[in-house]
Symmetry: C2
Subunit: 379 residues, 2 copies
């Protein structure tokens, strides 16, 4: 699109070949340089770079429903709106001092950010980035996700509560759920938007909420899952977005052990364990659920293992290179893109033959985000 | 985009406001006029019309991975490639005399069409529309779907077989499964691409194949489901794309009765029935699985009923108007678009308040297809 846009700006004729639709594009976070690499899945290539994003440590992003704009959540409190078509920054606000992720409402009209300092959630108009709601919580606020019905769900580290903010009506309504547990540090929502699961730093186990219930009550699940007696620091606790749903089961990284756990998606009972190469960071299910790809914590983070869902056995192992930080499947699962930070590249693999299809240069790449996320809940 | 494209062609500068991304677009089949209405979900509006598609009776379409192109399968054997950006026909071939649907491979490179006459499947290069494979079957060929791994699956009406064509390697491989049942007339594949289910015209029940099995064997399921003793004509048999998966269950139209059936998605045993206003045609699950929207056969086809998944009770009823033919949810389920053929319009509803949000004029609209289908298996 870069060629097309340049021509548009100076008024030259543009060939049809210069038009590039956005359904197969993506963004790769380049943390050290505060930039985003724009990539094209079909061409297996980088097609541009957007700079000036600020501090992109642990940055994440969401997409607008038309797959044209991304909203990038920086650790420094910056909320940046990026235009994939023109490959420019369309808007940027410093909305807090220290933030920890965001979400977009199911209708694509509202973008929410959760903040440590000042603690709470702020909601912005997706078009203008004007603030439309401020929800102070008096606590570090974590685990923010979107839920169906123009709702956002998030948890309070200090208070051990989960709040549901409903912005579907003329006035915002907030449901506060107490007794979620000691120091929730992260959360996920299932792909159907029904179940919210919070990880706990201050005790073992996790807390599940059924959002289909008008008044959800906390349910303690996986009582053996957590920091246990090892007293791990927060940054060693697994990110819950590292959970994957594969068919009828969730696959999740064990805490502090070289294994992944399998649990039944209906009732959360454990159905198996698979020994792995190292301490898993992400266990990502291929979209059809037949395979789970796992990467590992330092110093074993040069490796990926592929587990077959039916047998729960490791069926293949790859060594992409130093510091494999993230993996993103193409929407229908035929390929996977892997960021290898310290090799300065992204590697594209065929998920069936495991053949390497392409390498793409990138500056210290971390998170990879394809635009198909626009159409999913909780991504 | 029309304005932008016109400017491109004659070399005038284009404003950023003229750019329109395709992630929230869709096409509505206008059967009588052989045209497609281009619609924008975010604007809840028609933004153009593409004409010259030929016979669009029972037409369906699939999208390219970049959500720019649609491949339209006409009943007259026409395969037409449509460009959503320029709103023009990008290519068209008459590939057979009488065809019945198509599919696109998971990598987006191949488009397949199933034909009655001559019976078989033909596979085309998605870019050029050149034929790359011809698979004569000696039978009317139905129930064509795409499956992960560059495969197409389809069934033979006359032979009672299902074939799996694998185009992932240098040479095409075909697995033929016999004993599928008498006169398969339609089929579906589950969203994870694992289970292929064929409906049978010549006997009661359906046949399920587990595509994760290297050598799938036919499994007879729902033995009471079918034409029974009523000897219904083929056109009265329910289209299997009218099945919906809602959470842990499938919901499907009963044959010849005013009810929908609920079956367990893991083992296909019946879990319940819901009495309905008429004989159901489509039972469509809202993407979060909490609601199922049902429309009905003539003469009760002015009505829609909404069923709650938890209680299996009808919770709301709407009367959009004469001949409600199809419903399509926005990808995250906040809205649903309904084609009301004999009222010449599409109606957009909020799926929670059931409020009517918009009406859009269309010429005898039938199928509605949003571009988000590009990222899904079997759609």
């Amino acid at each position: 699109m870069a060629a097309a846009v340049a021509a548009l700006v100076i008024g030259l004729p543009v060939q049809a070949d210069d038009i590039r639709a956005t359904g197969d594009l993506g963004l790769v976070v380049e943390r050290e340089t505060g930039s985003l690499l724009v990539v094209d899945q079909s061409d297996r290539a980088a097609i541009g770079r957007i700079e000036g994003l600020g501090d992109l440590s642990h940055a994440s992003l969401v997409y607008s429903p038309d797959e044209r704009f991304a909203y990038v959540f920086g650790r420094d409190g910056g909320l940046t709106k990026v235009d994939l078509v023109t490959q420019t920054i369309a808007g940027r606000v410093m909305q807090a001092g220290n933030s920890i992720g965001g979400a977009i409402s199911d209708d694509g009209r509202l973008v929410a950010v959760s903040n440590y300092e000042p603690g709470g959630v702020r909601v912005f108009d997706a078009d203008t980035l004007e603030m439309v709601a401020d929800i102070p919580t008096g606590s570090k606020t974590v685990g923010l996700v979107d839920a169906p019905g123009r709702r956002f769900v998030f948890s309070l580290w200090d208070a051990g509560e989960t709040w549901i903010a409903d912005l579907s009506g003329a006035t915002m309504e907030i449901v506060k759920i107490e007794g979620v547990g000691t120091n929730p540090y992260d959360a996920l929502i299932t792909g159907d938007g029904r179940t919210y699961i919070a990880g706990l730093f201050g005790e073992d186990g996790l807390t599940a909420l059924d959002l289909w219930d008008g008044a959800p009550s906390p349910r303690h699940v996986l009582p053996g899952y957590g920091k246990g007696e090892e007293n791990l620091p927060v940054y060693k606790m697994p990110h819950l977005e590292g959970w994957a749903q594969a068919g009828n089961e969730f696959v999740l990284p064990a805490v502090g052990h070289h294994e992944v756990l399998w649990i039944d998606a209906r009732d959360f009972h454990e159905t198996g364990r698979t020994q792995t190469h190292g301490q898993p960071v992400f266990a990502m299910a291929r979209p059809d659920g037949r395979q789970v790809w796992v990467n590992f914590a330092h110093p074993l983070n040069d490796t990926i293992q592929i587990i077959d869902t039916l047998t729960k056995q490791v069926v293949h192992q790859l060594t992409p290179g130093p510091a494999v930080l993230h993996m993103e499947f193409t929407p229908r699962g035929n390929e996977v893109w892997v960021s290898v930070r310290d090799a300065g590249k992204i590697i594209v693999y065929d998920t069936r033959s495991f053949a390497k299809l392409a390498e793409i240069a990138a500056v210290s790449p971390s998170g990879i985000f394809f635009t198909a996320r626009a159409h999913r809940t909780g991504l």
